[in-house]
């Protein structure tokens, strides 16, 4: 009999001896078992189910693997990520969204009622994913919140188009970036407040929303009540929560959270470039890289010989749409295509399923690899970057049929 731990060690050894770049194992991707330096616990924030606690304050909690198996991640299971510890409970009735800035022609102040009554309602299914999702799986390891694979989720976001708000305020011809602030604040006055900016064309994109509902319910407090930005296809660092202020500006925003954080080496990754914030060394992270996650079975699981068994998971990308999910059982020599599930929209994740052959006893070594319609595929080797962003390695799974 092979224990789960034995299997894990065995697989690591296999990769080392084969000289193949190390890929993520499903038990690692499960989160609580390995990533995070031994400080994990399942703890419930008010209004949430127990999530994998990475840090109490500012609160950083990730979604357990089992809760990522549904097409839409439930609100009470959705991950929570904050940078600053002062997080007010925003009163919906007195909440106001202010639109201003040097390139705004008619500054506005809007209530939630204004947003609901005066703008067209729009819904979009989209993956919200922390830039540092799976940072805890980087080799060599990098500092930061040691996320497993649960700093991601898929939800139906409803609200209004940011474009409609900006156009009512009047976008000046010299507009370059749109800057966003939320109600959260630092403990110390000397700590930079969390503000982010978007290029003007991404802000005016029809898919960028100011959302006040998540999965047909009011946004949960921990996910940005009463309204947050939704930037489908871009990592969640831009999805400002507890949104309070929007500024249309003719110059690049120079705050710490744009100039000093959430940056990757210039030219190292594919995807949309943020020209007004780029320098020769570094550039802001923007789009989500093609990725996938096996939700069942977990690595090391034993299957009964002859029994029906199925691999299931999710695949997603920057909104180009998933082309296919390929599966290999012979160490990546040959590949077969998994069956894709219902298309929930190009920014949502896509379910995939694949029948596992349990007809003969022995070990099964599975590799999964998602391909995007944008021409990119999950890699066998990570692109090193100091902050541990864009972990999207092909996933490995070892199963035993007995």
């Amino acid at each position: 009999m092979i224990t789960r731990r034995g299997m894990t060690l065995g697989l690591t050894g296999y990769w080392l001896s084969a000289g193949v770049p190390r890929v993520a194992r499903a038990d690692e991707l499960g989160g609580a078992a390995t990533a995070g330096g031994g400080t994990e616990a399942l703890i419930a924030l008010p209004g949430k189910k127990p999530l994998i606690k990475r840090a109490f304050r500012p609160p950083n909690y990730e979604t357990p693997l089992a809760d990522l198996a549904q097409p839409f991640t439930r609100n009470e299971a959705f991950f929570v990520r904050y940078h600053l510890a002062v997080i007010p409970e925003v009163d919906v009735a007195s909440w106001r969204l202010r639109i201003g800035g040097k390139s705004t022609q008619r500054p506005l102040v809007l209530s939630l009622e204004n947003l609901r009554r005066e703008f067209k309602r729009v819904s979009i299914a989209a993956v919200a994913q922390c830039s540092g999702n799976r940072r805890g799986l980087f080799m060599p390891r990098v500092p930061g919140v040691q996320w497993g694979s649960g700093a991601t989720g898929n939800a139906l976001w409803s609200g209004v188009r940011l474009r409609d708000i900006l156009q009512r305020a009047g976008v000046g011809a010299d507009a370059l970036e749109v800057v966003f602030n939320g109600a959260d604040a630092p403990v110390l006055g000397a700590t930079p407040d969390y503000l982010k900016s978007l290029p003007i064309d991404r802000a005016l994109d029809e898919n960028t929303l100011v959302a006040f509902e998540m999965n047909d319910r009011p946004l949960p407090h921990w996910n940005g009540a009463p309204a947050r930005l939704v930037v489908p296809g871009w990592t969640a660092t831009y999805w400002m929560k507890h949104l309070t202020e929007i500024r249309i500006e003719p110059t690049p925003y120079d705050g710490f959270w744009m100039k000093g954080a959430y940056r990757i080496p210039t030219g190292a990754f594919p995807g949309r470039r943020f020209a007004s914030q780029e320098n020769p060394e570094t550039t802001p992270i923007t789009e989500i890289m093609v990725n996938s996650l096996i939700t069942s079975p977990v690595s090391g699981e034993r299957l009964r010989r002859g029994a029906h068994a199925e691999l299931a998971g999710k695949a997603w990308d920057n909104g180009a749409g998933i082309d296919s999910v390929a599966i290999s059982t012979d160490g990546q020599r040959t590949w077969r295509e998994a069956t894709l599930g219902r298309d929930l929209g190009r920014f949502a994740w896509r379910e995939f399923r694949w029948r596992i052959d349990t007809s003969s006893a022995g070990m099964i070594h599975i590799t999964t690899r998602a391909h995007s319609r944008n021409g990119t595929s999950q890699p066998a080797k990570l692109t090193p970057n100091p902050s541990g962003y864009h972990h999207n390695l092909m996933q490995e799974l070892m199963l035993e049929v007995a």
Partner: protein
């Protein structure tokens, strides 16, 4: 400044109620206990102003003296951590000795 005083008061509360062994999984922030060694109180009192102390063990497997030095520098210069040079040295000594991967 008032915020700072309030935060230090919070830090005192958090340390005062620390009661759980280091090996146990803390159920809330106040039960996180850093390893007993010289510099612990100074380190905890300053770090806890802005964040819970679980950030320290969480990052320990990634850290060494050099990376702790960079982190403390970042906390002071970018995030405004109110540490004197002497205090920064003591915090660096404590973290390097107790929360490094080697």
């Amino acid at each position: 400044m008032r915020r700072h005083s309030a935060a230090l008061a919070l830090a005192a509360v958090a340390l005062g109620t620390a009661a759980v062994l280091a090996d146990e999984t803390p159920r809330d922030e106040s039960s996180i206990q850093l390893r007993e060694a010289p510099g612990r109180e100074l380190t905890a009192a300053h770090c806890v102003i802005c964040h819970s102390l679980d950030y320290i063990p969480m990052n320990a497997p990634v850290m060494d003296a050099g990376s702790w030095k960079k982190t403390i520098q970042k906390m002071r210069e970018r995030f405004g951590a109110p540490l004197t040079d002497d205090e920064a040295s003591a915090v660096l000594g404590y973290l390097s000795s107790n929360y490094s991967h080697r």
